[in-house]
């Protein structure tokens, strides 16, 4: 594993993947708890037309411009989702499903136009579909590092407020908090982590890094603060695993391997998580059963000599206790 640290390129990929996973994991906790797991997917898919339009308007391949286009399109999609679910009888999940596919379809149409049009095949925009961590540069790592740091700071500063709007927004409003502003702040954070992750993981998969680590983290703790940190750690570990495995084996893509690693962590959590995990539930049930049986046996044992002595009530007592 360590030889990859000697290669500066691989080093950037490793660090970038770790930072990306960490930022996603932190912010994803709140998305997951607010039952907006699909939101990250909407934002990511919606970013594609934004990237294409940014390229068509400017004619240059600039990652900075792409990020701006992606963020603008993602926020437009979020606003549209909101509008649909508020102004019609369509539930939020259906609204998300509609918006996601419409934006993605527009994105694919534009992408095809770009590749077959006068822009030529050299645009490389299709990389954004599935991501290409291998193209990560020092500059990208700085962006991802800044994002991860910013996410941690904001989530730390507004931890109490984010907890409140995730658990009981109506109550938060009653306390005088600007709940709508806080919800928009969270939306912006999700947009930023998703959009910065697109280059490495691609619009199709990037949202998995947002949700899977936090779902896994939920299995290990009943405290929000611990869950948030753990989710960040799981995200970082997934990123590291993705970079490491894909550097060791030729022709393996970093982003998708990171997602698979996150899923692996999730499966381990489902199996071995304390209290909530499948195994611990099974053990608990067996333990309870054993305790119950031994208690009954103890009672029966205590009752037996009395029965032999032929006294009046033990039969009735045993009947009642069993």
């Amino acid at each position: 594993m360590w030889e990859m640290l000697n290669d500066p390129n691989l080093r950037w990929i490793l660090m970038g993947s770790i930072l990306l996973g960490f930022g996603n994991g932190i912010v994803g906790t709140f998305s997951y708890l607010r039952k907006e797991s699909l939101l990250g997917d909407v934002l990511a898919h919606a970013a594609l037309p934004g990237i294409c339009i940014a390229f068509m308007l400017s004619g240059v391949k600039s990652v900075g411009l792409f990020l701006v286009g992606a963020a603008a399109a993602a926020l437009a999609a979020a606003a549209l989702t909101n509008l649909i679910s508020r102004r019609s009888r369509i539930k939020p999940d259906a609204a998300m499903g509609i918006v996601l596919s419409v934006f993605f379809a527009i994105g694919i149409v534009l992408l095809t136009r770009i590749q077959h049009g006068s822009y030529g095949n050299q645009s490389g925009l299709d990389k954004f579909l599935f991501g290409q961590a291998a193209s990560m540069t020092m500059g990208d790592v700085y962006v991802l590092g800044g994002t991860a740091l910013g996410m941690s700071l904001i989530c730390g500063l507004l931890f109490k407020e984010f907890k409140l709007v995730s658990f009981d927004p109506a109550f938060g409003r009653g306390l005088g908090f600007k709940v709508t502003a806080l919800e928009y702040a969270l939306l912006t954070l999700v947009t930023v982590v998703v959009v910065t992750g697109i280059q490495a993981v691609g619009v199709v998969l990037v949202a998995a890094l947002l949700i899977t680590p936090s779902v896994a983290a939920r299995y290990w703790t009943d405290r929000l603060a611990a869950m948030t940190v753990l989710s960040g750690a799981f995200g970082a570990a997934s990123g590291a695993a993705g970079a490491w495995i894909s550097s060791g084996v030729n022709q393996l893509p970093t982003g998708p391997i990171s997602v698979l690693a996150a899923t692996g962590l999730f499966l381990l959590s489902v199996l071995f998580g304390p209290k909530r995990g499948i195994l611990s539930k099974l053990l608990l049930r067996r333990q309870a059963k054993r305790d119950w049986i031994s208690k009954q046996l103890a009672k029966a044992g205590a009752g037996a000599p009395a029965t032999q002595a032929g006294t009046a009530n033990p039969a009735g007592e045993r009947g009642a206790s069993l």
């Binding site: 708890l33 109490k160 009981d168 109506a170 306390l175 405290r223 929000l224």
Partner: protein, 256 residues
């Protein structure tokens, strides 16, 4: 009941879901320090009335004053205990933490709750008989215990005017007792409490005043003179046909 300084003055409040008005032209004024029951059949708009007062659902018409001013300026003086089902109890937090949320308004933005807030929260948990469950994950609590956690959170808010949406719905005897004790305590402190209530049998024991509604206000006044068989019959219409014996028993008890 001086005008303008009443804890709550509702004037001609009308609320509609889509086109159909569910609350029509309700006007009443709550007196300081009273426990007030909001009574009416299912679908009478009891919860809607509370939610409209708190701006959680939009109203078509009407004016709500809390201590003489709009609710938006008086949020911190108002505590609200929503129905238990309004949140996801599988949220990763414990009872004490939920109650501490009641202090967030006093803390303001960015500031974290410290030792003092935790102590106040623990004290509030104790008042609803839940101090022993402070560190319990909230999904591990029974329905009644969850209700008490919500009440403790409202208590921690230290408001002056409280709204409770069916706190007695589906709770065990221990919780019912805890709620009654709490209501008494709030009354002693001079707070005003409005409670959406379903169980007619207990109305006379719990409340100083009652607001009878069925879409529109049927009557509002002191329990002794308002919670009468005639007015209840008007409130419940035919639905009381299979004779809830309570009001009769109540008036008989008062009479004899």
């Amino acid at each position: 009941m001086k005008n303008g300084t009443a804890p709550l003055a509702v004037e001609n409040l009308t609320v509609a879901y889509r086109k159909k008005p569910v609350v029509r032209g309700v006007t009443f004024e709550a007196a300081e320090g009273e426990l007030i029951g909001i009574i009416g059949p299912n679908g009478a708009g009891k919860s809607t009335l509370i939610k409209a007062i708190l701006g959680l659902v939009p109203s078509l018409e009407g004016d709500v004053r809390i201590y003489g001013r709009p609710y938006g300026q008086q949020r911190k003086r108002v505590g609200y205990v929503p129905q238990r089902e309004s949140v996801d109890w599988d949220f990763p937090t414990h009872a004490l933490d939920v109650v501490t949320m009641g202090r967030y308004g006093h803390l303001g933005m960015f500031k974290r709750p410290g030792k003092q807030e935790k102590e106040i929260a623990l004290d509030c948990l104790d008042k609803v008989g839940m101090a022993g469950f402070a560190n319990r994950q909230i999904s591990q609590l029974s329905g009644g215990q969850q209700q008490r956690v919500f009440l403790a959170r409202a208590l921690a808010q230290d408001a002056e005017l409280y709204f409770m949406d069916e706190p007695f719905a589906g709770v065990d005897a221990a919780t019912e007792k805890a709620i009654i004790t709490l209501l008494g305590e709030l009354k002693r402190q001079g707070k005003t409490v409005l409670v959406v209530h379903h169980d007619l049998a207990t109305v006379a024991d719990y409340f100083d005043s009652v607001l009878l509604i069925n879409g529109e206000k049927i009557a509002y006044g002191p329990t002794a003179s308002t919670f009468t068989p005639e007015l209840l019959h008007r409130t419940y219409g035919g639905k009381l046909a299979f004779g809830i014996p309570v009001p009769a028993a109540f008036s008989a008890a008062k009479g004899g």
